[in-house]
Structures are given as C-alpha cells and as structure tokens.
Amino acid sequence: MAAETGPAINPIEQFSLSRVLSITVGGHDFSITNSTIYMVIAVLATIWLMSVGAKGTTGVPGRMQALAEMSYEFVAGMVRSAAGESGMRFFPLVFCLFMFILVCNLVGLVPYSFTVTSHIIVTAALALLVFFTVIVIGIKENGLHFFKLFVPSGVPIYILPLVVAIEIISFISRPLSHSVRLFANMLAGHITLNVFGGFVVMLLGAGTLVKAVAILPFAMTIGLYALELLVAFLQAYVFTMLTCMYLNDALHPGH
C-alpha cells in the first residue's frame, strides 16, 4: 500500500470554505468567502445571460436569446401549471430561485470550482425563504382561512386532531426535505466524483500492471459526470416545482 504515503485524497476538502477577504461588522463575521464569490459568479452569469438574451430581439433568435427564452418559458410553464395564472405574481421569485440554483449547480461542476448548493446553510436559507413566503402570503391573502390547509374537509370529528397533527408535521417537514434534498444530492454527487477521480490517481500511482485498471474508474467518472449534469438540472427543477406547489397552497388553501 504505497498509496498511503502519497498525497492523501480527501473527498470533502472541496467543500471547505476559505476567507478571501475578512470583514467584521459589529462583532459579526461578514467575510467574503469562496462561497460568496461563486454566488456572485452565478448571479452575474444569470444577469449576463438574460441581458444578452433580451437585447437583440430579432425574428430569428440566436443561441443566447433562445436559451434565455427557453428558461423563461420553462419556468413560466411550471408556475402556470402548478400555481395557476394567479401564481404568475411570484414568477420573479421562482425564476430567480431556479436560475440561481441551476447556475450554481452547473458552475459547481466545473473542475476546481466550488459548489455553493452543497452547503446546507445555503439551501436551508432558500427553503426557509420559500417556507416563510408561503406562510406570510397565505395569511395575508386568506387570513385565518389559510389554516384550513391543516384541516382537510370531509374528515370525521373524532380523528380530526390526529389528522391535523399529521398535516402540521407534514407542513413543517417541507423546508427540511426541500433543503436537504438539494444539499444532499449535490454533496453526495461531488463526493462520488471525487472518490472515483481519486481512484484513477491512486491506480496510476501504483504498479505498472495496475495502471491499466485505472481506465475503469475513469469511465465511471465520465458516466457519473453525465449523471451529475442531469442531477444539477433536475434538482433545480424539483426545487422550483415544489416552490410552485407550496405557493399554490398559499394562494388556494381550500383543498
């Protein structure tokens, strides 16, 4: 086992935060970290895509315009189908969430980059934003009628307390599943990629005969990378889809 003396491959090193610029305001740490930088990159990339896509509105759209229009259409269709026409009020929020998560996921797949969405604090912040938006909008729009969400119609009175408790647990579990799903998928995917990439390095560093075996984890890495591309899109899609469904609950809590 000569590999143990070589450079240790640490699959979770890629998620470590590092301060780039230390800022402290009133005893609180507001430092610019690598995470902050990649968030800014994601936001700038989205702004760039949308502004370039919206600039030359010619009859025949170019690549960028087609991409921008496709993302708009995709999210708009999602909002309309899940939350109805009245849900389009929340289109800016939903679109921002979708683009931010998607671009963060995709940027994170570039080698040597940092994946913002692999930190649960980021996904939890996004999920809680949605959670509290739903509660505030639901109460503002429907008043106490919003709490009918927890009281399904047509339930006999003697099991109602049980059903209400279950519904409340189900409601509170939303931000947890919402955030953990995105975080865990990105984390697990990147760890897997790193581990298989590490196998390639370790096997190449081993004896001459073993070197040929390195092709196996290499092929696996390529396959996993393709899967991660799918997952990056899919997670953004699922997150946005559920946001729409939760907003629908806020707007129409009757059923």
């Binding site: 647990i169 509170i172 579990s173 939303r174 947890l176 599943s177 799903r181 899919l234 699922v238 059923h255």
Partner: protein
C-alpha cells in the same frame, strides 16, 4: 374613404389569418401528452421519474425526522421522556407515508 378604412380592415384580416394559421399549426401538431418520452428536451420520462423518486424519499424521511424531533422536544419540555417521542415518531411516519401518497397521486385527486 377607402384609405381611411383599410388599416383596421388590414388588421382584422391579418388577425384572422394569424388565428387560422395558429389553428392549422395546432391541428398538425401531435397532442402534447402523447410524445412525452422522446420530447425535444430529451428523456423526459426518466427525468420526471427520477425527480419523483428523489422527492418521495426525502419527503418520507423529513416527516419522520420532524415528527421525532417534535416529540423529543415536547418530552424535554415536559420531562415525560419516551412518551411523546414515540407518539410523534409514529405520527411522523404516518405523515411521511401521507407525503409520499400525495406526491405520487395524480394532481387533481389531492
């Protein structure tokens, strides 16, 4: 007089032609539900099936964790050690199953 009336007439005519064209395109297009598997966005059904699987699993687990944590918190507050943890853990399991049923049943039914 003719020049005064032609613009709206042109507009109406144009709109009528556009409507006709839209109808014609619609009738030529295959119904949107039929070509799902091999739509323009690639393997659509695989993607939606995967997203459904991811959703169902995480929502099931999340409800159990929230139920258990809630019961544990109540026990901690009321010093009734295992009672509420057990009760709310079970309620969490029920809520998890309920989440999965809701996620997988067709949209109109829920």
């Amino acid at each position: 007089m003719a020049s005064e009336h032609t613009p709206p007439d042109d507009d109406a005519e144009l709109r009528a032609r556009m409507d006709k064209l839209t109808d014609a395109i619609k009738s030529r297009r295959p119904p949107p539900t039929a070509p799902g598997p091999n739509g323009p966005r690639g393997p659509d059904s695989t993607a939606s099936a995967m997203s459904m699987g991811l959703r169902a699993g995480s929502e099931f687990v999340a409800a159990i964790i929230v139920g258990g944590a809630f019961g544990w918190g109540l026990d901690w507050l009321l010093r009734t050690k295992p009672a509420f943890t057990i009760l709310f853990f079970l309620l969490g399991v029920v809520a998890g199953v309920w989440n999965v049923i809701r996620a997988t049943s067709p949209k109109g039914a829920g």
